[in-house]
């Protein structure tokens, strides 16, 4: 049973990063009622951005994250303006397909430009040995970065004017508009933030896992699971959901074959949706 501890810790560390990606997805859902099927592709772009900053400009990946933040925010605005603004009122099927189209375009161009050979950021932050547990430096730093980002997002949403506007639109778009909040600006901002969170999560992942332009798909699916576990539209719930999923991925393999993990994950996902659609945290 000595395997349980390192397994859980590894799972939790990666759970922080899952959480950041899921926060982006859940924010977009909460504010815009859009399921962003381009989330995974955006994550992959974040990975590539970090990779090129590192390999071509020799920029430390964590410093590079600042550039990723700015670029992805702008990229999010762009996607919103081009693909979503026009259909945001026409129901979830249209927005689903619009984001799916964006996903296809990103992956299509990405495949042509970057090919699908795996890339790897050859950056090591050493490792720390604590008794039976060996922690990789990059995973620790990624978890730390995830905590910082969550904190910043919280401060932004609760203590700044645009942040409060986002929450207001999320609660009740019609009422917020009556109060004079320019909802289309707020929607664009929310989508930008969601995209940014995805790209940053991608960037952090790329410091310890190899990736291709297609790598986002797995994380996108995990993000769905996490969002549902934590309650759709609840950013803090997403982080907790991320940790929960990470821990689950650490614990399940200790008593059954690792390949059964996705079965457990997705069955749990469907169960939670059916039994308690507000999420395990169960707000309201």
């Amino acid at each position: 049973m000595i395997h349980v501890l390192p397994s859980i810790i590894d799972g939790l560390l990666i759970g922080f990063v899952y959480g950041v990606a899921a926060m982006g997805l859940t924010l977009i859902w909460g504010v815009m009622r859009v399921i962003n099927l381009g989330h995974g592709a955006t994550m992959a772009l974040g990975m590539f951005c970090t990779y090129f900053l590192f390999s071509d400009l020799a920029l430390n990946p964590y410093l590079g994250m600042v550039a990723v933040v700015v670029l992805s925010l702008l990229f999010g605005f762009l996607i919103y303006g081009v693909a979503l603004q026009r259909v945001i009122q026409s129901g979830y099927l249209s927005t689903l397909l619009a984001t799916f189209a964006v996903n296809m375009i990103i992956i299509g161009i990405g495949t042509a430009v970057f090919t699908t050979s795996p890339r790897n950021i050859d950056f090591s932050a050493g490792s720390i040995t604590l008794g039976p547990v060996i922690l990789q430096g990059t995973r620790l730093l990624a978890a730390l970065a995830a905590v910082v980002i969550t904190g910043a997002l919280y401060l932004f949403l609760y203590f700044t004017r645009p942040g409060k506007a986002i929450r207001a639109v999320s609660d009740n778009r019609a009422a917020a508009e009556l109060m004079g909040i320019p909802s289309s600006h707020v929607l664009a901002l929310a989508f930008g933030l969601g995209t940014m969170l995805a790209a940053v999560a991608g960037g952090l992942t790329s410091t310890f896992f190899p990736f291709t332009i297609l790598s986002g798909a797995t994380y996108q699916l995990k993000s769905f699971v996490i969002c549902v576990l934590g309650g759709l539209g609840n950013p803090l719930g997403a982080l907790v959901g991320g940790l929960f999923l990470g821990a689950l991925e650490g614990i399940v393999p200790t008593f059954m074959p690792v390949s059964w993990v996705p079965v457990v994950e997705f069955v749990l996902f469907v169960l939670v949706l059916v039994v308690k659609p507000t999420g395990l945290l169960g707000a309201k």
Partner: protein
Amino acid sequence: MNLWRQPGFWPSFLLVFLSGLVVLVLRQDTLRETAFTVLMFIGLASSLNILMGYTGYVNFGHIVFFGLGGYFGFFLVSEMGWPVYLAALGGGVLSSILAYIIGAAVLRLRGAYFALATIGVNEAARAFVSNFEPFGGSTGLYVNFSAYDRYGGAGQALWFTFILLWLVVLAVIVVSYLVKRSRFGLGLSAIREDEDTAMVMGVNAPLDKTKAFLISAFFPGLIGTLYFFKNGNVEPDDAFRFQMSLEILVMVMLGGKGLLLGPIVGAFAYERLRGYLLTSVIFKNLHLATSGLVLLLIVLFVPGGGVGWLRERFPKLRRWLE
């Protein structure tokens, strides 16, 4: 109702009937392969349309029924030695049973929540089958080449499978039309417009939704068996491609959801476009991006899909373009 007197039925039926007939007359192998793929997608898209187009429930897991039904049917062929037409029926029946069980749980969800749940169902099914030993686990199942002998050799078997698929797709179209024109179909439309009001007005929504889900799931099981039989093997990654679920959805949208002709036109257009892009020199590397761009333009500017647009533009054609 006399099906043969309905003007909305004929364009769709004849389109599929005649294109299948042309392939049978010309007897070219390359043409048959291409036609097989196109017909398969027409069948899948049309059966998805029964749920998605008629009731408005977006199912991202339509391919689960293709995968699980196909797996089961293939299992009957390769391990039990059933003839392929019986096995395909078996696959279809299993799909419907599964739809009943899954539907009992997830059909209670509405809108985006239902859509999300179906994504989960798809992934859970794929992960489960890749661990399920009777279905060969992650390496899947295969038929021995001699299995084709009972149909008069491999070449004959492929033609036979093609004819079966053609008949199945024709059946999908007939059933789609009958459902749409029945009282039951009107109930489904009412659910699509406003489920709560529909229930107040006396539509038994839970029962009708489940029935639509069962019918919609039956055909992918049949088609899956035929497809894997043609391939000669089946593996989890081929059977549960999430991408394929999405593509089918795109086809329905492209042609026009809720219309009989919509998925047919959509599947045909999408497959031809993709085939063309894949083999053209300029677009070979950008085929995915180009398909994405086409989809985006449709969603943004022609939300009714191709056939929907025609209906709007030429009201006189409406009775033909159901």
